[in-house]
């Protein structure tokens, strides 16, 4: 028998063993110190180590197999509670995302219109020059793909070093309305429950959410329960049929933007039918409404006023607004009124990318609080995230223009003082004025200096705004064309953003560096570097520290702590400073661990306690607050605010919203009236345009489009059309169609009766394809509280174009 045959047989046995373990449902214990080996080596010489998946916010753990300096295999991690050894189609291809043939491997500087290779020394010097031009006009744009230490370093560099708050993540485009929804309701961000709710719920309601494609592992938890004979009712409330709809017991199709009316209709029925949970509400909730001027805290309202405000949202009126039959509104009202069932609501971009996103998020929390479907396993309002560390980095580290780590705000004196103390910088170093949020930052960059465009440079890391910003020709392209504006992009592949860059910095990716992510269920997950990055690619975190050091050596005060030391000084075990700004010395010490331990000091204020770094090394993640026990072990928290699990609930209380905005331990139930959207179909632009993702590609596709299997499975973007609209315009399947909004035009092939099924009057376009930039057409108007734009609805007209192009 040949060696090749032996090896293949071995791999088949390994594959079957992994599948068998996953099939038997082996689960990880969340308890630290169970003694499982982190690293192992199999007989074929493959080294295995753990890492969270690089892609979405679910936070599945994979086992990464490496050999001869390459990732050669991926297995679901059977010790991971999130995915129990299973992976989705993107997850099992994650290793191949490292090996696209066009990886960026050299710093590139635009000279005479062309990007030409330069040295790292020159690249770092160029970045420092741009900072020195005017630190107040230097902005940083990152993402929920920053690891926690990377985001923390960027945050410290900008707010603790440059005294400039113009730092924001692409998470602003993704989940900012979830943040403001949580804060307005509970006084603190992130879900109370966790994925275990999906194992206990009798009813799961999807609010404008398609987890079958976007969070497949979580969706399979629900479907798997059904195939084992359990009854789980699935209700899909959406504006188009998706793969999730195929599994739903009920599909409730609503008019875009009318979801607020549906939530109000449920609340109205709970009160009208007397089925609200009066005991829970009396003990644990207040009522709240919008204030004038508008503020996130709003103002108090009485129960009587709340009830009166909801009176108009009868099932019949909600049907008029939303198109959902009154009988279905009653069905929802009856379900929420039952005490004998558990209800979990899931939402993601549908509720967040919404000019009333904060309002919609608070209403979703509100119907759970009002009905008492809160705080026990299976009864949960849960927002999902789209990026692997949107929670861990963007939200917890607070890489937002108004925030500081651990739920702090730059506008609060005490919070700035905390940051200055932990960073050991002089009092007054942190600026108290919030910086520019994403849309404003790019607007100020794309606006000429003479017209008040006071952002001269943006440094982009781990994201692709040239593809993902809305109304791209307004927010992105003018800045690219302006010779006085400068764009620095750290990335792993050429993208629509690097195309407009003046300086490109090649970056390490995923297991080419150490990292820590935080997923959708408050789970913090650590991994170690396992392979070298290609060519001269280097870690994003190192890039920040190297620029900071260059500025320090040029004498910039901001890069010094109050003792005159370097802001990012990292000592070794003996206390001697390691020159981590020198790439050759960067891994002499674990920089991630140093930054994480510094950051950990910030996490106690809002009960987001993290365990020491070394504890995470031994686990597949822990959900905060993670609290040390008397025996020295560390205990995670699955269900916040509930006495049975949350150690911060005051003794004697069953529930305790200890960060309450009203300071009385209560959550807020909001009244938010439905209203019309800022742009609606009209005679000139008669259809709704919705944008989103597909199963095979993650985000802008810059990684997944480099994986041949994923690229082959979904090669290009398309426009999904309803057959009635297609027939009316004489459009055939595969024919090229011109889409036009008030902002731009794009030609795409039509897909009729495709994967998703938009109703008459609606079209859908995925945004993963860098050759077909749908964000030239989308709306940049945003929610007044979260500043998150609406990518889900704007007015569009379509027309067939003469040539045909078959779908590949």
């Amino acid at each position: 028998m040949s060696a090749q045959h032996d090896r293949r047989e071995f791999l088949k046995l390994s594959a079957l063993a992994a599948a068998t373990t996953a099939a038997t449902g082996a689960q990880a214990s969340p308890v630290v110190g169970i003694g499982e080996s982190r690293k192992r080596r199999t007989a074929d010489g493959v080294e295995w180590d753990k890492a969270p998946c690089r892609f979405c916010g679910t936070g599945c753990h994979v086992q990464v197999g490496t050999k001869a300096g390459k990732v050669v295999a991926i297995a679901g991690d059977e010790l991971a509670d999130v995915n129990k050894g299973l992976l989705c189609v993107k997850g099992y291809h994650v290793g191949l995302a490292l090996y696209g043939e066009d990886r960026l491997t050299k710093p590139l500087l635009r000279k005479n219109g062309k990007l030409v290779p330069i040295s790292w020394d020159e690249a770092i010097s160029v970045v420092a020059d741009r900072v020195m031009k005017d630190p107040k006009g230097f902005a940083f744009y990152g993402s929920g793909q920053w690891t926690i230490p990377e985001g923390y370093a960027a945050q410290k560099f900008m707010k603790g070093g440059l005294s400039c708050n113009h730092i924001d993540p692409n998470a602003r485009l993704c989940m900012a309305s979830a943040v403001t929804g949580f804060i307005a309701t509970y006084g603190v961000d992130e879900p109370a429950g966790c994925y275990a709710d999906l194992d206990a719920a009798d009813v799961v309601i999807l609010w404008g959410n398609n987890p079958a494609e976007m969070h497949p592992i979580l969706f399979s938890r629900i479907i798997d329960r059904r195939s084992r004979g359990e009854t789980v009712k699935l209700i899909d409330i959406g504006t188009r049929r998706t793969r999730s709809t195929a599994h739903a017991d009920h599909y409730l199709q609503f008019e875009p933007h009318s979801d607020l009316a549906i939530a109000n209709g449920i609340a109205h029925l709970l009160l009208a039918n007397g089925t609200w949970d009066q005991d829970f509400v009396d003990k644990h909730c207040n009522f709240r409404k919008d204030s004038d001027p508008a503020a996130l805290k709003g103002e108090a309202m009485t129960f009587e006023d709340y009830k009166a405000a909801l009176a108009e949202y009868t099932p019949e009126r909600v049907e008029e607004i939303s198109g959902v039959p009154a009988a279905d509104i009653r069905m929802l009202g009856d379900l929420f009124g039952r005490r004998d069932i558990k209800i979990t609501s899931l939402w993601c971009m549908g509720a967040n990318q919404h000019t009333r996103g904060t309002a919609m998020n608070t209403l979703l929390h509100g119907i759970h609080l009002l009905s008492g479907h809160f705080g026990t396993p299976g009864d949960a309002p849960t927002s999902l995230t789209g990026q692997p560390s949107a929670c861990g980095t963007a939200r917890e580290v607070g890489t937002l223009a108004h925030a500081l780590p651990g739920g702090r705000l730059v506008a609060k004196d005490k919070h700035r003082a905390h940051a200055e103390e932990y960073w050991n910088v002089p009092a007054g170093r942190v600026n108290g004025k919030p910086g520019y949020h994403t849309v404003k930052m790019w607007e100020q960059w794309s606006k000429p200096e003479a017209d008040g465009g006071d952002v001269h440079t943006i440094w982009v890391q781990v994201t692709n705004p040239g593809q993902t910003l809305p109304n791209r020709d307004y927010l992105f392209s003018p800045g690219v064309r302006d010779p006085n504006k400068f764009l620095i992009v750290s990335d792993v592949y050429p993208t629509a953003t690097t195309e407009g860059a003046d300086l490109v910095l090649p970056a390490s990716m995923w297991v080419e560096k150490n990292g820590v992510f935080g997923n959708s269920e408050r789970r913090t997950q650590q991994w170690f570097k396992q392979v070298e990055p290609p060519g001269d690619a280097r870690d994003d975190c190192w890039q920040i520290i190297a620029v900071a050091r260059e500025l320090f050596e040029r004498g910039m005060e901001g890069m010094k702590d109050k003792d005159g030391g370097f802001l990012f000084s990292v000592p070794d075990a003996s206390g001697r400073e390691v020159p981590v700004w020198d790439w050759d010395r960067y891994y002499d010490v674990n920089v991630d661990k140093h930054l994480f331990e510094e950051y950990r000091q910030f996490t106690r204020l809002k009960q987001k306690d993290l365990a020491p770094y070394d504890v995470y090394v031994k686990t597949r993640g822990l959900r905060w607050p993670v609290v040390e026990q008397k025996d020295g072990s560390w205990r995670e928290t699955k269900f916040r605010f509930s006495a049975f699990d949350d150690p911060y609930v005051a003794e004697g209380k069953e529930y305790d919203f200890y960060n309450s905005t009203t300071g009385d331990g209560r959550a807020q139930i909001w009244f938010r009236p439905w209203g019309e959207p800022p742009e609606m179909p009209d005679e000139e632009y008669p259809l709704w345009l919705c944008t989103g993702r597909v199963l095979e590609h993650w985000h802008s596709g810059s990684m997944t489009r480099r994986v041949p299997q994923l690229r082959d499975a979904m090669p290009q973007a398309y426009v999904e059309l309803n057959r009635v609209d297609a027939d009316a315009l004489a459009i055939d399947n595969g024919q090229m169609v011109r889409l036009t909004t008030r902002r731009g035009t794009l030609q795409l092939p039509a897909w009729i009766d495709g994967r998703g099924a938009p109703p008459k009057g609606t079209v859908f376009v995925p945004f993963f394809d860098e050759r077909l930039l749908i964000n030239n057409l989308t709306l940049h108007l945003f929610d007044p509280f979260s500043k998150q734009p609406d990518f889900k609805k704007c007015a569009v007209k379509i027309a067939p174009v003469p040539q045909t192009a078959a779908l590949e």
Partner: protein, 85 residues
């Protein structure tokens, strides 16, 4: 070419389930493990990417299959053949 490990989630109809198991057992490139509840572990091995895709599509379309999930993928051959493109 890649060797995959997957879990096939079977539907509750016993007739469909038996048919699915018979079909799978006769398939070249498919190694079937022992069913636990509704979950059937399999290893899939193919000689080309096209064959791999066809096999996966056929599995997904089988009556009695609720859904499929992956849990293992080896693609070391791709490195040996050169960088994937």
């Amino acid at each position: 070419m890649p060797v995959l490990g997957a879990v096939i989630h079977l539907g509750s109809d016993p007739l469909d389930r038996n048919e699915t198991l018979d079909w799978l057992s006769s398939m070249p490139g498919v190694t079937v493990g022992a069913t636990t509840d509704n979950r059937l572990p399999v290893a899939l091995s193919s000689d080309s990417r096209a064959e791999d895709k066809a096999l996966w599509t056929a599995l997904s379309a089988l009556p009695g299959v609720s859904h499929l999930q992956l849990c293992f993928a080896d693609f070391s051959d791709l490195h040996e053949e050169g960088t994937p493109s």
